[in-house]
Symmetry: C4
Subunit: 228 residues, 4 copies
């Protein structure tokens, strides 16, 4: 049994975004994000979540949108990739789940890549500290383990949360069958380009758009790959 | 030959949706669905179905949309996942099919996941009782079996329906080649995120949308994963 | 070396569509297609094709749209699935191709499924007679063979056309590398749901659409699967 | 260890586009592209890029749109396929990257196909000369190598640039884990049909479009495949 240890630090990710001496055009690291209280036309919100209900727990999986910032040119750039939120709720009785006791875990794009690539006999482990780099660092520790079921019929998802602030130590398990995992994978594969914001670029590709900057940097003209 | 038994009870699924003591935001279990007789602007309807015609039977595969409910906030939430409807018709002669004798079977999202994940040598079986939890429970029993063809060239789809109300006991078989199964899988993979309603969320992700609630719960601020 | 023989008769397919005694709602077999000379607003046409250029021949791959018919209700139904057109042109010199001598072959949805599912060591063969069921049946015979290259680095595409009407017997070969085949597969996988028309159904699924017929046939009400 | 050598010459690609004696309708080789300074309504630009940050280097991956030209008929045709731009920046300190020293490499559609199809133990090598066919041919030589990591946990991406014009000889390495590669593959698979322009054709397929030319060349009428 192979066990991939995939320790991932969001703090590290965050720092990296702000550390580049000269960010490339597509790296939205420098300008602040919009305040959500801003005006402007809003898309109607839609709440979607796919749930798996089992005897001892329920798991709800929900996408969370990436963020964009506007540039002086009127263009937009991706400033933060989206993610997928996992919500685990323990059962409070037969087919009753106590969502007030839910525990959450947000999967980054690369963690989603881990889950998509996970073979039927692979296991994986992610570590999160929501306060990493803050004064409360180490107060909360979350571990998500995804391990193959002994009979090969699927995987166990196990979220452990140690919260020293409220003296909590909890672990929620839920078995996910191969078919359920296939549905998750299909949803993850679908949503991943949206989490990266690539759909926004893709949707902007129109045959009758005369203002594409691409032409100016024609690849075949030679100087597009000649960056220095 | 491995035989996955995947007994799935829609009644159980339904109950679960209504049993949670405190449903998460994305679990549309509490408010009633719209009546179809309501007003409002409607999209033009489109009927699509992909058919496989064979000597003794035909099989038509059609997607069925998920349902949404509106919230007081003006937002929408998924209230019921979509599904795929299988329609089996026996042949009534050479290349003639008797659709008046058709039998139907609706595949849930997880059952679709089963079919997508089915290996060339795997088989699968689903059990449905349309009246499960109703007074007529047990009166109709449907079994869909998907089994590999002996020569490995595809799978048999076999729908058996026992209907005690009209004293019917029928079984319709249709062989599906590897190529035909590939087409079904491609269609299933395409439609699955729509059945989950994730396309509606994805389509609402726009670079110039200043009203996203995401920002308020910034993942990197630490309290997004700090649910209690 | 395994050789799948996948003889497919378009005439048979066509006949089937018109032979059903009672067609299901989604099977658009009964009403005639629109004449292309009709009025109405048209989408701007876009010609796309992906080409593979080799020493002795070039191959261009182009999608062709499905067709819909309108119903009295104002709804639309798919009346004919789309396909993918392969165009083979022989080289007329170094990097020069003679498109006036091109030969074409249209891949049905199921034939596309065959190509998508084709393993690196598999081969496949399709037979077409454009006049099947017409008075000129047998006058033109086309065979597309897709066979693995001896070194496993890709597949040969070979289109043979025998045309007794103009006393022609031609064969065009083009090697397609694994990478080129991957691009074709990606394009085929993308376009397949469009060829089935499923995108039109998918795009009509909107959270705020109050007129869906789905609700009336609620799956959980029991009578949706109770077709008789 | 198998090493696929996939030398690809953009100059050759370019020449081919202009060399056909009679181009097929979908091969947009003959008319010039729009000047980017033209008027007309423009889509809001969106900059997206997915970055991988490691100890010694960072890699940013960005899609670049295909180009279309307009025809006298008012239709559009693809004139140049899109590509994916890789940008490599060396680290200038801990979590600091020097984008002023970045090196770029643009992946063609077929090169993307190579990366998508790359097995966990496969390696691949691409050679580019931005001045191929120009007077400065041979002055700049770029090699992108993608090789499996010794422990099988992912691939090394290595871009070497030899620039005789400025007497530069640089090599940037970055390890890409299996999970990160999965994210790249998912993004590549998503964007590939857009790079081919097939999304523009797909989006033009509407049920209520009465002006499709498809009908005139009905596949079942026999003369669609009868090209001569």
């Amino acid at each position: 049994l192979r066990s991939l240890k995939c320790r991932q630090s969001e703090y590290f990710d965050q720092q990296q975004r702000f550390a580049s001496s000269t960010a490339p055009a597509a790296d939205g690291s420098s300008s602040p994000s919009f305040s959500p209280s801003g005006g402007g036309t809003a898309s109607p919100k839609v709440f979607v979540g796919h749930s798996i209900y089992k005897g001892k727990a329920a798991l709800t999986v929900e996408p969370r949108a990436p963020e964009f910032t506007s540039l002086d040119s009127g263009a937009y750039k991706l400033s933060r990739e989206g993610f997928v939120l996992l919500q685990f709720a323990p059962a409070a009785g037969t087919r009753v789940y106590d969502w007030s006791r839910k525990q959450v875990f947000s999967l980054s794009v690369t963690e989603i890549g881990n889950l998509i690539a996970l073979g039927p006999r692979d296991s994986c482990e992610f570590f999160h500290d929501p306060f990493k780099g803050k004064s409360d660092e180490g107060k909360i520790r979350k571990v998500l383990k995804v391990e193959p079921l002994p009979d090969g019929s699927g995987h166990f998802f196990n979220l452990s949360v140690q919260n020293k602030l409220v003296n909590l130590d909890e672990s929620i398990y839920i078995p996910v069958t191969k078919a359920e995992y296939t549905v998750l994978n299909s949803a993850f594969n679908f949503i991943l380009p949206y989490l990266l914001g690539w759909h926004a670029y893709a949707n902007s590709i129109k045959p009758n758009d005369r203002n594409r900057g691409n032409n100016a940097n024609s690849r075949y003209g030679g100087d597009f790959e000649w960056s220095r």
